[in-house]
């Protein structure tokens, strides 16, 4: 084995707040190089996420969205900061708290909102829902519901980049609770073993549902687990957009230049419950704790103040941005509401490639893929009509 370099360990800059971090990291090359309009875009993207999430919550409360809805409020700097660095061959994969990343990579809000409402125009045609947004054309690979399950996929994306000889990397996000899934460790080891260009991003919002980090993980910091695999790691103030960018840029450069992976632990906070259904959100943490983040460490406010300090932003502009974003979000709701529901026949689409393109190969004729309702019959996918047009919901 060629001896690998000792891991680069970057523990937190001690005892400072996001605001100070933004000031410090404004000086780092990747941020210094940013033209003003791009700084404003970063700010705007965080606002877009925030307002989209707030609006989707209202739609949920109106009963137009069902199932789970995991909101990203409070963590915007992570998705926006990291994704802002993506080049053509850089890829993203995350867990079920995936709206922020989707907006950051540039997915349009309309199809996102439509997906939440289960509409045909949804980004997954209403098949995936909140936890399963995808945009492969934007290098965005989801949106995954099983805790930790997306991390091996991220490893595979990084593997494919290396296999194809592309200079790119994969950003694979997970929560602080996810680090205790076996899948994550297997992936850390293989990434380091094979020098795969992947950056594991722990979005440490300090809770997995109602369980605080110290009740689920034996030791701190979580990123230190990378040591066991000889992998570089850093702790990052995840509420400081500039710091997120600076640390991610370092890791991406390392991945592309040396193929070496990095484990980044981004310290952040979620404002809302684990999901909208989280009835206990007020119980497992104090109101004061939540407020302290909102008041003094909110990533959007902190970055807004930083841009004001830099003379790039002012109150008028802030208001104008808010207005524009609200329009965009409203338009997404209107788009979604005006969209048709997906047709029952689509239930059997997107399962098997031959079924979707029966003419593609004459051999497809007569092949049976589905067991329809007592009638074993895949030949007739196109003939499928749903059992009863006056179908009553079953519960």
């Amino acid at each position: 084995m060629t001896k690998k370099p000792d891991p680069v360990q970057t523990p937190e800059v001690p005892a400072s707040e996001a605001a100070e971090h933004d000031v410090i990291y404004a000086e780092s090359p990747v941020n210094k190089a940013l033209p003003p309009e791009q700084r404003i875009k970063l700010y705007t993207d965080m606002v877009r996420i925030r307002i989209f999430e707030d609006r989707s919550l209202r739609v949920y409360q109106q009963g137009k969205i069902g199932g789970f809805l995991h909101l990203y409020n409070g963590q915007e700097a992570v998705a926006v900061g990291t994704v802002s660095l993506l080049g053509k061959d850089d890829h993203v994969i995350t867990a079920y708290r995936d709206h922020g990343h989707a907006i950051a990579v540039g997915m349009e809000m309309g199809p996102l909102m439509a997906e939440l409402m289960g509409k045909a125009t949804g980004c997954s045609k209403g098949k995936g829902g909140s936890m399963h947004f995808f945009a492969p054309e934007k290098n965005y690979w989801g949106g995954h519901g099983i805790v930790g399950g997306q991390i091996p996929l991220g490893l595979g994306i990084a593997f494919a980049l290396k296999y194809k000889g592309l200079e790119g990397c994969c950003l694979a996000y997970m929560g602080d609770g996810a680090v205790n899934q076996g899948a994550v460790h297997e992936s850390l080891n293989m990434a380091a073993l094979w020098d795969l260009p992947i950056i594991f991003v722990i979005e440490n919002n300090q809770y997995s549902m109602g369980t605080s980090q110290h009740r689920s993980s034996a030791a701190e910091p979580l990123a230190k687990r990378a040591d066991g695999y000889g992998m570089d790691w850093a702790i990052v103030n995840g509420n400081s957009l500039y710091e997120v960018r600076a640390r991610t840029a370092e890791a991406m450069e390392r991945a592309k230049k040396t193929g070496r992976p990095t484990l980044l632990e981004m310290r952040t906070y979620r404002y809302r419950g684990h999901s909208v259904a989280d009835a206990n959100a007020e119980k497992y943490r104090t109101k004061a704790e939540v407020e302290s983040y909102k008041q003094s460490r909110d990533p959007i406010t902190v970055f807004k103040n930083e841009l004001i300090r830099e003379g790039i932003l002012n109150d008028d502009l802030v208001e104008a941005i808010a207005l524009k974003v609200k329009e965009e979000v409203e338009a997404s709701v209107q788009f979604a509401e005006a969209s048709p529901l997906a047709e029952p026949a689509t239930i059997f689409e997107d399962v098997y490639s031959e079924v979707d393109a029966p003419q593609a190969d004459p051999a497809n004729e007569g092949r049976i893929f589905f067991n329809l309702d007592g009638e074993w019959d895949g030949r007739t996918r196109k003939e499928f009509v749903h059992p009863d047009d006056e179908n009553e919901p079953s519960s």
């Binding site: 689509t346 239930i347 059992p387 079953s394 519960s395």
Partner: protein, 324 residues
């Protein structure tokens, strides 16, 4: 008999067994301080404390295996899976350890473990969170699998499961947690492997488990009222062991069978029941056995489509009419 919810019935079963036997403890994600993601363990942590109610990290393989090891040592762990869908990261511990250590040790070791949690679609959460793996669990000799449909059965089967000397998988249903039913007073168990005829009938046997039983009862009402067909509804309650006798007796009376399940159809529980019926009651059958299962695509997110996907009373009626 008190009228309580399925959730309360489970809660009572757990509380009573914790009180009865110091070896019973509950472990899982959010079962203690949070009171359970679906509130099945509500109040138990407060009542019984840290020793008996244990919040686990998101490490299903680890804590299911812990349950197996602790059971080998004589404890009676009740491991909650927040969803049975999360068992997929940990099937090895269930199949290769819980189910088979007894066999591979030549009977030296028993594994009195309960693994419980909801296994159902119908809640608009998409494919990854809507699995119903009872067909897979019941395929493995060594495991027992039950799927209560009512509050009474939920309580009686849960208590039986905890007292059982083998590993029992209890398949609950989030759509039933809030349903109320009469539950017998006091301490009772329902032996695993005994089906119940939830509605007596003469013209057709509808065989179901879990929430499909409720669907089947609704269908039987429609069949009676609108079509003059008097259907019998057999609730399996337990999938393994299986009460073949009750199934066969019913079909021998009615000569027609429809099997209803929320499983995906291919190799679902309904396939096995159909096989058994035609094998053992071939001459009794006046028509092919029919099945009503979850539609055979990954579970879909959109609510209006998922409602079509999962068997409902209309679909059962429609299917029944094809053979009546």
């Amino acid at each position: 008999m008190p009228l309580i919810t399925y959730r309360q019935a489970l809660n009572e079963a757990l509380a009573e067994e914790i009180e009865r036997d110091p070896n019973v403890f509950i472990m899982g994600e959010e079962v203690a301080e949070y009171n359970g993601a679906y509130k099945v363990t509500e109040g138990l942590w407060k009542r019984f404390g840290d020793k008996r109610l244990i919040d686990a990290p998101i490490s299903e393989t680890g804590f299911l295996g812990l349950g197996v090891g602790a059971a080998m040592m004589g404890l009676r762990p009740v491991i909650e899976l927040m969803f049975w869908s999360f068992a997929y990261v940990a099937f090895d511990q269930i199949i290769n350890n819980a189910a088979t250590v007894r066999y591979m040790s030549g009977g030296k070791i028993k594994v009195p473990l309960v693994i419980r949690g909801p296994a159902n679609g119908g809640t608009n959460v998409g494919s990854t969170h809507s699995h119903t793996p009872e067909m897979f669990l019941a395929n493995q000799p060594g495991l027992k699998v039950v799927a209560p449909a009512t509050a009474h059965d939920a309580k009686g089967l849960m208590k039986a499961a905890i007292r059982d000397d083998d590993t029992v998988c209890v398949m609950e249903n989030t759509l039933l947690y809030g349903e109320k039913g009469e539950v017998a007073d006091g301490d009772f168990v329902i032996p695993l492997g005994k089906a119940e005829i939830k509605r007596a009938g003469t013209d057709l046997s509808i065989i179901a488990h879990g929430r499909s039983t409720i669907t089947s009862l609704k269908a039987a009402d429609i069949l009676a009222k609108e079509h003059g067909i008097n259907a019998e509804v057999v609730d399996l309650r337990s999938i393994r062991p299986l009460d073949v006798q009750t199934i066969l007796e019913s079909v021998s009376r009615t000569h027609r069978a429809v099997i209803v399940e929320e499983n995906k159809p291919f190799c679902g529980v309904g396939a096995q029941i159909a096989y058994i019926i035609q094998d053992e009651a071939f001459d009794e059958l006046d028509a092919p056995i029919k099945r009503v299962s979850s539609l055979d695509a990954p579970q879909i997110y959109a609510k209006h489509l998922e409602d079509i996907m999962i068997p409902d009373a209309n679909r059962v009626v429609k299917t029944a009419l094809t053979i009546c």
